[in-house]
């Protein structure tokens, strides 16, 4: 029974230019931007959904530098990411914004598509999300950009997973004690919450996220199917990881099951690509050895075998001559030579078998890829970073380590209040795996409750919107920055801690 999956290859639709409603203008409704390394979600705080949800990239065609004619396409203006894959620029370096020219272009795009038409300024307070422990240097640049270039009246920063957690509580607020697991595009964080505030000092960041899962999946499949290297694009891998992959509750068990041919046939999915747009580049070298290469090897081996057999025939005529030739061939005696020929025969048999296997595989329809064990391997890297060579603890080990920092009573409360958010956690079985690992860590029969956000991708935006309209909100104004410098940050329950940089003498 073949499980067939055809890659949809969805193209991006350009964003609509929204109307700048009069009501939004007069009441100074806050603008909420959930600025993520994967997508950027922009919208008005009073609405239920963000108006814009676009991939946070631009495609910059360098063109002729002197004449400064750069062809820039932003976000959803790019119909197909794969055609401009090498031209893509993002403001992010890992999970932190470092490139403010690109950020400016993206903000221009966002504000323009919201329909803002006020002259010389944007008359709305702004809430922006940032990474946990975002360096002050980065925040400074961002504040400067927003106030100087867009002249916003008020600004507030917050952490996306905290907003998401607050949104998913019965009353919008952080829990007394809890543990947040946030797995995004570039990184995964484990953040304890203590006393309704994030305990950032005890936070833990694993430098792997959805991007790494897709990239790993891509390379695994490319090694096994070198003739389809150009078909296995990152966009398709994103689709596969989101749709087909699942996190194994017990990884060792799952992969040994995948070996069994009966299981493989039943559970493996065959990926199909709708159309081959680019000609496939035949990659040299392959795990089994490409057919051409194997043929060559076979020929060489057979030639050698023939030579050795000639020597054996020679022995029957004259032993001396045979011994001389054997010595030339590097064998001390004729017996050794005979043994060598036996080995060669076995080797040739093996190569013949491999070649047959290779031809059999080639006969299977080109443009299809069988995905079996890879479906479990890709998401597993979050739990075992050593799979991709990262020298970090996995997610469960991080949780165990963080819980040790608190007293037994607090640990119990935290275990009952684990919250999972972030786009990468939408992979099948993520939550169940966390539950299972927690059962292994915690004392026998202690209570464990793991909840997932209602909408792991958008709840951060919704949380920020709710926060902006509530009385918890803590705005920073331009005059605060003029007094205290651009690194100023007003701390609140949903924000980072302020870390002052010492002035260098």
């Amino acid at each position: 029974m073949l499980n067939l999956y055809t890659c949809k290859d969805e193209q991006n639709c350009p964003d609509v230019l929204h109307e700048y409603e009069a009501q939004l203008q007069t009441e100074s409704i806050p603008l909420i931007i959930d600025n993520g390394s994967y997508h950027c979600r922009v919208g008005w705080a009073t609405k239920l959904h963000p108006y814009l949800n676009f991939k946070n990239v631009i495609a910059k065609n360098r063109g002729n530098r002197k004449e400064k004619d750069w062809d820039i396409q932003v976000a959803n203006e790019i119909a197909d990411l794969e055609t401009v894959r090498w031209l893509l620029r993002t403001p992010y370096d890992f999970n932190v914004v470092v490139n403010y020219s690109v950020q400016e272009t993206l903000l221009d795009y966002a504000f323009k598509h919201l329909g803002i038409s006020t002259d010389g300024c944007i008359n709305h307070p702004l809430v922006l999300t940032e990474a946990i422990a975002n360096p002050s240097y980065c925040r400074k640049q961002m504040s400067e950009l927003l106030f100087e270039s867009y002249c916003i009246p008020k600004l507030a920063y917050g952490i996306d997973c905290l907003f998401s957690n607050g949104y998913n509580m019965p009353e919008f607020d952080l829990p007394e004690v809890g543990l947040i697991v946030s797995s995004g595009f570039q990184s995964t964080h484990v953040l304890p919450v203590f006393g309704k505030k994030a305990d950032i000092k005890n936070c833990c960041r694993i430098n792997l996220g959805g991007y790494n899962c897709s990239a790993y999946m891509q390379r695994l499949l490319q090694f096994k199917h070198p003739q389809l290297v150009s078909e296995l694009t990152l966009s398709r891998m994103d689709e596969v990881v989101h749709g087909l992959c699942h996190v194994a509750p017990n990884y060792q068990e799952e992969i040994t099951k995948c070996c069994d041919i009966g299981f493989k046939d039943k559970h493996a999915t065959t990926l199909q690509f709708s159309s081959s747009t680019t000609p496939s580049n035949i990659k040299t070298g392959n795990i089994l050895g490409g057919p051409l290469k194997l043929e060559k090897k076979l020929k060489q081996a057979e030639h050698k075998l023939y030579e050795l057999e000639c020597v054996i025939e020679l022995e029957q005529e004259s032993t001396e001559a045979a011994e001389k030739v054997a010595a030339d061939a590097g064998c001390s005696s004729i017996k050794e030579l005979k043994e060598k020929t036996e080995l060669m025969r076995d080797n040739i048999q093996a190569i013949r078998r491999d070649l047959d296997e290779q031809y059999r595989l080639d006969k299977v329809a080109t443009g299809t890829v069988k995905c079996g064990i890879e479906k479990c391997q890709a998401p597993e890297i979050i739990f075992q970073p050593s799979l991709v060579g990262y020298n970090q603890s996995g997610l469960s080990e991080c949780i165990e380590m963080l819980l040790e920092n608190y007293s037994k009573e607090v640990q119990e409360l935290m275990a009952k209040n684990i919250f999972i958010t972030g786009g990468n956690t939408k992979i099948d079985g993520f939550r169940e795996r966390v539950v299972k690992d927690m059962i292994q860590i915690r004392p026998y029969q202690s209570e464990i409750i793991v909840r997932q956000a209602a909408d792991p991708s958008l709840d951060a935006w919704r949380g920020a919107a709710k926060w902006a309209l509530s009385q918890h909100c803590n705005w920073m104004e331009r005059k605060d920055f003029e007094e205290c410098g651009w690194e100023y940050l007003k701390e609140h329950n949903f924000s980072n801690m302020h870390v002052a940089t010492k002035s260098t003498t």
Binding site: L17, N61, G63, N64, K68, D69, W70, D71, Q73, E77, V84, L87, F94, V96, V98, S101, E104, T105, D108, F111, S117, D119, G120, C121, A131, I132, A133, P135, Y137, C138, S149, C151, H189, C204, Y216, R219, L220, F223, I255, T256, T284, G285, N286, I287, L288, K293, A350, D354, I373, P385, S386, G389, N391, Q392, G394, E397, V499, T501, K502, T504
Partner: protein, 160 residues
Amino acid sequence: MESKRSDNVTRGKKRARSPASARGRKRKDLKENENTSNELKNVPQQTEEVAKPRQEPLCFKNPKYRENGFSTRTKVWKNLKQIMNAQKSQSSNGEVTYASIDAPPPVKPVKKYSDISGLPAFYTDPHTKLRYSNSDEYRQIQHISSDTVVGLLALRQASY
């Protein structure tokens, strides 16, 4: 290389139907106050539609900032590594920095998996340093080329 192709061969074609030109047209309709600091381009235009200079500012942006703003200057931004190092040298002990919340190395010994099949690997090939779990895989390893070996090792950040 695809980028070179798009630079030299298809650039003209690309610009003809580039959404940027359509965007330029849309901007014209949307803008209320035209900013007079339009820099005219000296480049002979390849298509009529791309008559709009790209540095056209949007109405909601502060015009004073644009003159000495980011876009006109080619500023080299620091990358994350440089920022992290700067923060490390400037911060005192015990403070939370971006680098300090990095997950530490694992305490438990890591499990090894085969580079060929993904099964638990009990053996390592001393010649290529690849891991394998049974003799069939070992045979396959003997046939693969050196660049595949390098690629497989790079997948788990090991060197040949």
